[in-house]
Symmetry: C3
Subunit: 361 residues, 3 copies
Amino acid sequence: MPLKKPHNGLQNGDGSHEKDSRHFGNGSQQQNMDLNDHEGEQNLPSVLEVSNDTPVVNGIGSSLANGSLNLHSTVKRKLDGEKDYVFDKRLRYSVRQNESNCRFRDIVVRKEDGFTHILLSSQTSDNNALTPEIMKEVRRALCNASADDSKLLLLSAVGSVFCSGLDYSYLIGRLSNDRRKESTRIAEAIRDFVKAFIQFKKPIVVAINGPALGLGASILPLCDIVWASEKAWFQTPYATIRLTPAGCSSYTFPQILGVALANEMLFCGRKLTAQEACSRGLVSQVFWPTTFSQEVMLRVKEMASCSAVVLEESKCLMRSFLKSGLEDVNEKECQMLKQLWSSSKGLDSLFSYLQDKIYEV
Amino acid sequence: MPLKKPHNGLQNGDGSHEKDSRHFGNGSQQQNMDLNDHEGEQNLPSVLEVSNDTPVVNGIGSSLANGSLNLHSTVKRKLDGEKDYVFDKRLRYSVRQNESNCRFRDIVVRKEDGFTHILLSSQTSDNNALTPEIMKEVRRALCNASADDSKLLLLSAVGSVFCSGLDYSYLIGRLSNDRRKESTRIAEAIRDFVKAFIQFKKPIVVAINGPALGLGASILPLCDIVWASEKAWFQTPYATIRLTPAGCSSYTFPQILGVALANEMLFCGRKLTAQEACSRGLVSQVFWPTTFSQEVMLRVKEMASCSAVVLEESKCLMRSFLKSGLEDVNEKECQMLKQLWSSSKGLDSLFSYLQDKIYEV
Amino acid sequence: MPLKKPHNGLQNGDGSHEKDSRHFGNGSQQQNMDLNDHEGEQNLPSVLEVSNDTPVVNGIGSSLANGSLNLHSTVKRKLDGEKDYVFDKRLRYSVRQNESNCRFRDIVVRKEDGFTHILLSSQTSDNNALTPEIMKEVRRALCNASADDSKLLLLSAVGSVFCSGLDYSYLIGRLSNDRRKESTRIAEAIRDFVKAFIQFKKPIVVAINGPALGLGASILPLCDIVWASEKAWFQTPYATIRLTPAGCSSYTFPQILGVALANEMLFCGRKLTAQEACSRGLVSQVFWPTTFSQEVMLRVKEMASCSAVVLEESKCLMRSFLKSGLEDVNEKECQMLKQLWSSSKGLDSLFSYLQDKIYEV
């Protein structure tokens, strides 16, 4: 039931409220009227209430000074907001509606001073799940960013989920239609998506606002700096979902997390909190949700003041000897997924698991 | 002074006490009559005393439903039992005596639903120390497990020690007899033992109930998931014992622990607690001793419900590119040990160190 | 304003005060008369004052029994000394003056029982910064140590800073003189310095007493065991200073710290405390500043009691497969620095940054 129209105090204003326009969901803020019911607001001390005139300064998307993003919403700030992951579609649309240079459907791309900002903001899937089409948009955005004069890339997400991985309802739908053709198509989409990260030459900073699952977590080691909100968590339950690892996680996870933890994540679906992911090396640093986007922006802007040559050459030094190895791993992982999906046995196993889950929910 | 006869309430009952039969030493439980003296029981509040009729539900070995293992012992539960590592041989024998499908002498192999369970339970060495004969038994068990329909392997130990590494009294005895011949024989036994782990294609889960020393710790990174009891600890004092690293630890330890800590372990014999080993990546997760085996069993059974193809292919993706490298390392490490043992100088150095230790004890 | 003469209670005594002669700056001790001004001593309770007759037992340099180092100074002990990094040149000179077998200018080399001790103690740069000349001295000392009968090498520093990396004022001076020639000369000096660490065959133990910056931090993973005082910290702000990584950190840092943290250090200049560096694997263990040198000495002496063959062969096993890779990385990194320094653009960027900093200070 996504609303496509602006609502509830959100205006299309262009510039008038520029300085107040930071609004970017990391789960700690909701819109006043819609979320009252499950907020338990009566329990919050009134001092936490933010008046209608005071916008929340809490977002990445719109803290970008040269953008034309304008959100002037009446919001209620929830400081103890760990419990609610509300996937507020309307918020995303409102970000997108006001985005002037938008040429994508499921991501928002913003050209900033010295860097490109890609925001996952999927309209065609839930919780920023990835479909071949969305992965293609990201690839296209990466391709543009590699050619322009930006020095680095910032990847983040709109909403309270960073990325929930492959879209399994899409997967089931397509594979039950035409197993042979679709398994190849989807596996190749993943391969090309992952390859685009492997080959991207400028530093990639990722800001993880919330849960990062499956492919959404697997690609993190292919990025260069990973900052996470305290609310983020990480899970790659491939074996549990009857899948083999993707996103080069079969190589990068043991390297970073150690064999034992990597296997526990990939085989048993072990969930890592932001702090655990940080202490084990998947994440560089964890920030408090309410200041997460400011902290990230501050650092990204400072990085973007560095010499472009130094940034690109440093990344080249760090990655070049890994690149061909990662491409091989990616190729093998996607080959294996294709085999699984095109075999009736592998598919049955996947279907029966996923359908159980769907009925469960 | 191992007793080979059942004693003290242990019965050979087959099935009658099936539901009560969980008993598996991780050091927190001892048998009533034998251990009273050094227990300091008078200091324990009486509420901790478990009546003779209440078996301890605390073990891996016998929580396996389809086994015929029956231990009905009168035990005293010690909740603060960190201080005593009593290597109660009788406990092991009682496990073995009741084991119906036992075809090994120093290990117990149990075919479970979806997985194979190998328990180190050495009769011919102390503290599950490894001799060429025991290593051969493990290899044989791995070979069987690789060929049968089990999806994964669980490796654990009977008693309160996981594995104390190479049996040095055996080593001294043999090498002083015929240096040249025995150095080759023992080094090759190690090589083949380690190789069996490198080449094993199904996931290996290890449950570390207590100390894991030398080769017993070195092989852990060759396994896939490592769960440890809070009571476990890890030490590989190769240089201190005048040995060079084995079990591929010269490669895997720096990879997992970082160069600095790996070297401190291998050169200075730095001891890692279970928590340290976990925070540094050698161990996936640490569990409370009293519930350790249940936690492990729960997870292993869930893993065993996964698709066999997915488990094996995932492991293949994660390990294949490492396999030949590890085999080289293993070959070199064992070559080096052989050289040390066959040179009079290396041997003297080893002897003088080990004999000092033996006299010390 | 370095004083080259003994002063303030420091005597050239040879042996008379041997047992009292431990004095080695890690920042927690200063000499009485000189540092009164900025000590804020009036705030310290008098119980912390150490009488003139009580030497501080707190140093590495002179706790070496067979040396002829004799420092008998009146010192004031500051227990809460985290805030002051006083680079007391005189202390260093006093160490050097009493050093009998000194053949170097900016380092002190001591031949101990079973090991060689190299102390960074730069006279020609501040804070143990590295110039091509100093790096050449270290190389020469490494070369000597590799050929003599010592079993391992201990590397530490005099003063309260371990090493502040490349000497940037030297760099600016030389590069502005003759960009083309000097960029080659300095890059080659770095290459050969780093290569000497890569190729050194005996174990290297590093004792980090205070800040380790840039190249001074980058070379740590090329050493084998890294012990740090609680006062140590680590920073490699290459990109910030408009440089590309050196010392093989582009390879070793991601290996040890994980991609994300490595990049945050190299790109954003993230500073690691001793504890953080330890929990992430750069450092093996952290010791309390006041007992740091004793702890290190104890362990180094124990290591030096091991068999030389075992030490060298263990290191060989651990490093051999990495050596050629590291040499390639080193070559590439230095090639890149040379290119940066010889291009007018790279140089301008470096100059403008460094000059800003210098004026700032």
